[in-house]
């Protein structure tokens, strides 16, 4: 009896020490170092054991990949929290959004985190893509490049499906207008649209489909491809680096040097996001009215460049331009196989100059095209009317032609396939951003208004 009591007392006394000690992974009989490594094996799986000193420099990647992954996990966590309250039925979706926004403890904050992280992710993914292209970092990483493009498309799908879920006037009509862009895609457009919407119009079937895609199918696919994407970085020998550094053995242990830096980036992304989400609410518009479209009906900003092009011509806007852009990106690592300059920003004088000239030419051409096109379609302008113009004579078609011409000219001028491919890509990038800006300036009846011009009464 007394032995029982004394041993019980002894065990309870040593509880604080044992609580921590017993839960630790046991150091094996081998030396302690290995045990410590095993504890960190998750990190070792993500990273090579050693990296080059170059990988530690923040300017090498600008941390864009780390930021994107951070935002993705913020989206997963906040998304799961939102799922607890959200009801994907047309009758209750908006009400449940109001509950999240107004009544649920911290619901507004979690929703703002989700919304702004999503918008941030669209931006960082685009920047990441531009960074990888500019450095030629797809070279020797062909598979990972394709995986990255897949992730980019999945992310756009997430953004698109998530946009409908609040079921307010803005989201309803934005998705409705984006879905109607599919009408411009020949042959399969109609079938894809009815598969996506579950009918001819947006309704309960659409909401449920978008919800399932948004919370299950797309994130699961993204998680798998993301894991492959990160794994391939290690398999491909770490970050892309210039040939001069290739010979240098990776000498710096990833732990602690690289991991600490990434940790700091992650924390500051979270800090910035928390401040932003606390200060700026995620918008929740007026309740949906399926009978009264708002005028203008606008797609979300990351799709508005397509909508702008569709307003010129359905074929070039919804099919040719995105098709050429995607083909260009998919084919890039196979068409362009130069090893020189990989891992440096627009390496080589001629490449840098070619891209700079192409960007300037593209901006000039875009402004000229838009001025001509908008002018010819406005009643007040002195330009001849565009009434008789063929459908294909429009700024988006012009920019595609320009991209191909610029790519050839720049290739002939510099003699480099990289300069050619990059010049063409940057022309299309300028076109994308330009159409986005013009689309944002569109007012009622898709008329162009400068930002300081007043829209007519009643809108």
């Amino acid at each position: 009896m007394s032995r029982f009591l004394s041993s019980l007392a002894r065990n309870l006394r040593s509880l604080p020490g044992n609580l921590i000690g017993d839960l630790r992974p046991r150091a094996g009989s081998a030396d302690d170092n290995i045990a410590r490594r095993m504890r960190r094996n998750f990190i070792y799986h993500l990273h090579p054991v050693s990296v080059t000193r170059r990988a530690l420099n923040p300017l090498t990647t600008l941390g864009l990949g780390v930021i994107t992954v951070t935002l993705f996990f913020v989206l997963c966590v906040t998304g799961i929290l939102l799922m607890i309250y959200y009801v994907p039925t047309t009758r209750q979706a908006y009400s449940s959004m109001q509950d999240i926004e107004y009544a649920v403890t911290l619901g507004r904050f979690v929703r703002a985190l989700h919304r702004w992280a999503a918008h941030g992710m669209v931006v960082t993914v685009l920047l990441h893509l531009v960074r990888v292209i500019s450095m030629g970092a797809y070279r020797g990483r062909e598979l990972n490049w394709q995986l990255g493009l897949g992730l980019c498309l999945l992310m756009l799908g997430m953004a698109f499906t998530g946009y409908l879920l609040p079921w307010d006037q803005r989201s309803f009509w934005a998705v409705s207008v984006t879905a109607s862009m599919l009408d411009g895609t020949p042959a399969i457009g109609g079938a894809v649209k009815s598969l996506l919407l579950g009918g001819e119009r947006i309704g309960q079937a659409t909401l449920l489909r978008f919800y399932t895609l948004h919370v299950a199918l797309l994130p699961a696919s993204m998680l798998v491809i993301l894991a492959l994407h990160l794994w391939r970085i290690r398999r491909d020998g770490g970050l892309a680096r210039p040939p001069s550094v290739t010979g240098e053995a990776p000498s710096v242990p990833a732990w602690p040097h690289l991991v600490l830096r990434e940790g700091v980036i992650v924390l500051w992304v979270l800090i910035a996001l928390a401040v932003w989400a606390a200060l700026v609410q995620a918008p929740l518009g007026i309740p949906v009215d399926p009978h009264t479209p708002s005028n203008p009906e606008k797609a979300p900003w990351y799709f508005i460049w397509i909508q702008e092009m569709v307003s010129y011509s359905e074929v070039t806007g919804a099919f040719v331009f995105p098709g050429v852009l995607m083909t260009w990106l998919v084919a890039l690592p196979f068409v362009e196989r130069e090893d020189e300059g990989v891992g440096r920003w627009l390496a080589g004088r001629s490449c840098r100059r070619a891209v700079a000239v192409s960007v300037l030419v593209a901006i000039g051409a875009l402004v000229a095209c838009e001025a001509l096109y908008i002018g010819a379609h406005s009643e007040a302008s002195p330009l001849p009317s565009a009434a008789g113009w063929p459908d294909l004579l429009n700024p988006s078609a012009a920019m595609i032609v320009l991209a191909i011409v610029v790519a050839f000219v720049s290739g002939l001028w510099t003699g480099s396939t990289r300069a050619a491919c990059l010049s063409g890509f940057f022309v299309m990038l300028v076109a994308m951003l330009g159409f986005m800006l013009v689309g944002l300036c569109r007012g009622p009846d898709w008329v162009f208004y400068l930002p300081w011009e007043e829209w007519p009464i009643g809108y």
Partner: protein, 342 residues
């Protein structure tokens, strides 16, 4: 190289620690900043007013209305159905509801169906704003609350909506419908003014300016100024505004016009037999009155026809269309002869 790197690692370790502390601090700040507990303070003060300060605050209160909506207004407006806190001496939000509309309270229509605002919100600023906007809802109190009556009643149908009726008469009298018809496509009108049923986002000041000086808000406007009409009687201007506000309101549960509304509120299915092509009033006894047709979205059969379902009638002869209709026509036709009424 080794010492240089280990020095850097130590610095990054410190940076990581500092960043973590900043994140924790920012997290706490964000949580405090983003939570809005104004209603708790109001509930505590209510205890002091009613002389029961120790009483446990009731927490979030909500009313699930018969229309399927949820109103949380009673979280702060705690005394709506009490009789001892009536009158203008009692400060808001603790005042009880005027009993003129006790009928509505009994049927649990809720608050936002008449008063607008965002019924599910708990912060006063959002709750008193129109859904999804930051504009204060005008229908929170007199006289604009009269606009809400038109959601279920024809103007003049019941006492207490005189200002709305006056505005509706002005609309006909001043010829507004020539440019701003209430049917799409403009039944005989020119239809080049903005749709009056969609001014919900505009402020009252904006609407008022548009009536008095249409070019104030939109320089290219060709609308004539109506300031002479309202010069002598500023009350009429407000009546007009009440009517304008009423136009942007939908029927509760609206969606299919007359039929849906009458079904949901009265249980009658008049338009099963009497429906026009688009579900509006018409069919066998097609309405010729332009005002009725223009207002089809706002009316239900029972506003004029006593709300009895066909099955309850004894025979065709007792169908109340003719007599009831005539009796209610005075609403528009007693003094002014506008449109092609019966």
């Amino acid at each position: 190289m080794g010492t240089e790197l280990s020095g850097a690692a130590r610095r990054w370790r410190w940076l990581l620690l500092v960043s973590s502390l900043v994140l924790i601090g920012v997290g706490i700040w964000a949580v405090v900043y983003a939570s809005d507990g104004g209603w708790r303070r109001i509930q505590r003060q209510f205890g002091e007013i009613t002389g029961a300060p120790g009483e446990r605050p009731p927490g979030i209160l909500q009313l699930e209305t018969c229309l399927g909506s949820v109103d949380r207004c009673t979280t702060c407006h705690l005394a709506l159905e009490r009789s001892d806190l009536a009158g203008p001496d009692v400060p808001l939000p603790y005042r009880s509801h005027p009993l003129g509309t006790v009928h509505h309270l009994k049927y649990r229509f809720g608050c936002s169906v008449c008063h607008g605002g965002t019924g599910r919100a708990l912060s006063a600023r959002v709750a008193h704003s129109m859904q999804g906007t930051s504009n204060r809802d005008r229908r929170l109190g007199d006289p604009y609350i009269q606009a809400s009556c038109s959601r279920c009643h024809v103007p003049g149908d019941k006492p207490g909506m005189e200002r709305l009726l006056s505005g509706a008469k002005l609309y006909l009298e001043l010829g507004c419908r020539l440019c701003h018809p209430l049917t799409r496509g403009g039944r005989g009108g020119w239809d080049f003014g903005p749709d009056l049923r969609a001014p919900g986002r505009k402020s009252l000041a904006y609407l008022e300016a548009s009536l008095v000086d249409p070019t104030a808000n939109f320089p290219r406007s060709t609308m004539p100024s109506f300031d002479k009409s309202f010069e002598d009687e500023p009350m009429l201007l407000e009546d007009m505004l009440i009517f304008l506000v009423s136009l942007s309101l939908s029927r509760p549960e609206a969606g299919k016009g007359v039929r849906h509304a009458s079904d949901s509120l009265v249980g009658a299915a008049c338009t099963d037999c009497h429906a026009g092509e688009d579900g509006r009033a018409g069919g066998l006894f097609r309405h010729e009155c332009i005002y009725l047709l223009e207002q089809a979205q706002h009316l239900r059969c029972s506003t004029c026809h006593s709300g009895r379902a066909a099955g309850e009638q004894e025979g065709e002869k007792s169908c109340p269309v003719i007599s009831e209709h005539r009796r209610n026509c005075w609403v528009c036709h007693d003094e002014i002869a506008t449109g092609g009424g019966p």
